[in-house]
Symmetry: C2
Subunit: 408 residues, 2 copies
């Protein structure tokens, strides 16, 4: 098999841990597989470099910041190759521009456009382990780009897709994907398998196991992803295409996101074009709006409520206040201490009544639902932040069966 | 003017020092010049990375070591560009492969083959400062290479040559090139000017101001080099083509090299081909032999004495002992505590008697000369290491005039 293995910052945190990674790669190779290893920067290194950037410039330019922080993965890739060679395993490091992983020019959040895998293929077919610096690419004009936080996941899955690898293994410091955050839900259990679409919803809902774009890649190119621990040999969670056995589970996981803020534009004149006047400037400021609710009232005005990432709250508030004056709304209200709790499951498509059950559970705990948003396989609610853990635990207990729903 | 400025590791040792560098670049630019800045890794960074390489592998592969240590200059180049932008100076960083600086594949000591300056020219003509990561290049197959210790000097001079820059300024932590090491010779003084050939001899004789290959480049392409301090605005030393005024000085400097070891092959049968038998294997082992002396004696045998870098002593000794057995020499003697003291000066070509004066001075101090080697503009002697400082001081006092020999 051709296996792409991705090792996160904790797994390559120092030379000793890199040696552990080398041991795992060597065992994989001894089992007869070809290996492409994708490595992150040593834990803490990206933050150290970003601190240097902020010390050098009040508003660091994105191109130069990318050139700076990409050095972190460069160091790990070279050290991993050196350590493999030291263990008698032929190896060669590849930087983004050496692979070559071509991206657009959106520094700090670049998207992969094209991957040339000839060099990697030559390396692995020649018996070498190819060690690729994750997180980085190169744009058309030769500048170094980076793919955003967690971008090494996307590097790994994209490489697996381009190489038509048999599996992409994501090594991390947890055992796999859980039905809920174990720090909040004592009964949370590891999932053996999860469908791409479920994982997409979970990733976008605040479960930080995989970068969401890596799951999009995996889904589009049907790359089986195996999320597992770098500290033991247990099977982790397979993120794969939906199959019939999965349908049996109604809810696969409960996710919590505390990083949103809620804004309400009050008594908006209820006429066409108002939403565009509001969300146009917000989109132009690169703020991603998550949930939107509009309540028409009898007096011909309406309240428009929406959520944005908390980091963008100040910027959004300024824009909304300006729009409020322009369109004659009566004012702007906001709440920062909100939490979004979501349940995700393929089975929700066929099992009726999951939404009703969710609201019942929350009501029985005295938790007021402020906003609701649904998709085919998920329901999200915004609630007061102080009820967040209680809501997650109650929903997990009520909706997720205690025994594994997947055949072991 | 188009000016290439090179800043060493001490000058870019932290973000505050980088800000000083930025101030100097900004002033140069305000004076109407275009600037290409070449930066080294932060002081200590290359050694830190090399220590990681040695922790990862007992015998670190040179390709991967280059990929690893090149990250040091990458960080400084990006930080310097960020800091320039923060000061309102448009700037863009360039890595070796982005410039592009093409080298051969001799990792760790690569030689520059070709430089494409289109990108740099575009940057400086567009009003930006081009900040180039020194020390690094890229070979034909896309691997990162490094130019050896002090390689950023060579990067700077080579770029100045390729760009036909008006001057290459080397900013360092000393004021310029001195007639002797001020730590040893109290009367040592800064030279205003020195000829390429003199600088070549001094560089190769242990004066560590400039990497010798940078001087070769400067000489070949006639790049005026200005060695000066990054901590003040004083004029430093101009390394330039020989001119008539220089001829007046007989001796420009006294250099000391403590990094050699002496080996003697005793009672070698005095027949053709013996030297080849000896120095063939030594060259094959990549050991650079410096001085060679052969004393024929009356009994048909000869003693062959030569010096090698002390770092290569063990390897050389093993090879010499093997050759001694093969050719029937009586044995091998060696001495590690030797020092090479040299005087350098263009004037030696026309001023007779400098050598005689040198031996006189040494004899009057009771210092025995073990080996002698001369070129058109230098005389080197190997002496007992314990007399090294004494010899340097005595020669400096006797041969170098106390007042500046160049018109101020």
């Amino acid at each position: 098999m051709l296996i792409v293995q991705k090792y996160g910052g904790t797994s390559v945190g120092d030379v000793d841990r890199i040696r552990n990674v080398v041991g795992r790669i060597a065992r994989t190779r001894s089992a007869g597989h070809r290996v492409v290893a994708v490595v992150s920067a040593m834990a803490g290194e990206t933050n150290r470099l970003l601190a240097l950037a902020r010390a050098a410039a009040a508003r660091p330019d994105e191109r130069e910041t990318d050139a700076l922080i990409a050095s972190g993965e460069q160091v790990t890739a070279a050290l991993t190759a050196l350590s493999l060679q030291d263990a008698g395993v032929p190896a060669q490091s590849f930087l983004g521009h050496q692979v070559r992983i071509e991206t657009d020019t959106a520094h700090g959040r670049a998207r992969i456009r094209r991957i040339d895998v000839d060099g990697l293929r030559q390396a692995v077919d020649g018996g070498r382990v190819a060690v690729v610096a994750g997180f980085q690419g190169v744009c058309e004009n030769g500048s170094i780009t980076t793919l955003g936080r967690g971008g090494s996941d996307t590097s790994a899955v994209a490489l697996a897709a381009a190489l038509r690898a048999d599996v992409c293994e994501i090594y991390t410091d947890v055992d796999g994907v859980y039905t809920g955050d174990p720090r909040i839900v004592p009964g949370a259990r590891k999932l053996d398998r999860i469908a791409f679409d479920e994982m997409l919803e979970l990733a976008s809902l605040g479960a930080k196991v995989l970068q969401i774009r890596s799951v999009e890649f995996a889904k589009r190119y049907r790359v089986p992803v195996h999320v597992r621990s770098s500290f033991n040999d247990s099977e982790g969670t397979w993120v794969i295409e939906e199959d019939s056995s999965m349908e049996e589970v109604s809810v696969s996981g409960v996710a919590l996101d505390r990083d949103e803020a809620k804004l309400t534009l009050k008594n908006v004149p209820d006429r066409p074009g108002v939403a565009a006047r509001l969300f146009g400037p917000i989109a132009a400021a690169n703020i991603v709006v998550d949930m939107i609710i509009q309540n028409a009232s009898a007096d011909g005005t309406t309240d428009l409520t929406f959520t944005v990432p908390r980091a963008d709250y100040e910027k959004a508030r300024g824009l909304v206040e300006q729009v409020a004056r322009e369109i004659g709304a009566s004012g702007v209200a906001s709440q920062l201490d909100v939490a979004k709790v979501s349940i995700v499951g393929l089975g929700m498509r066929t099992h009726a009544g999951i939404a009703a059950r969710m609201f019942e559970v929350l009501a029985s705990e005295g938790i007021n639902v402020q906003m609701i948003s649904t998709s085919e396989i998920k329901i999200s609610v915004v609630i007061d932040a102080k009820y967040a853990e209680l809501a997650v635990r109650a929903l997990h207990d009520a909706l997720i069966p205690p025994a594994p729903g997947n055949p072991a």
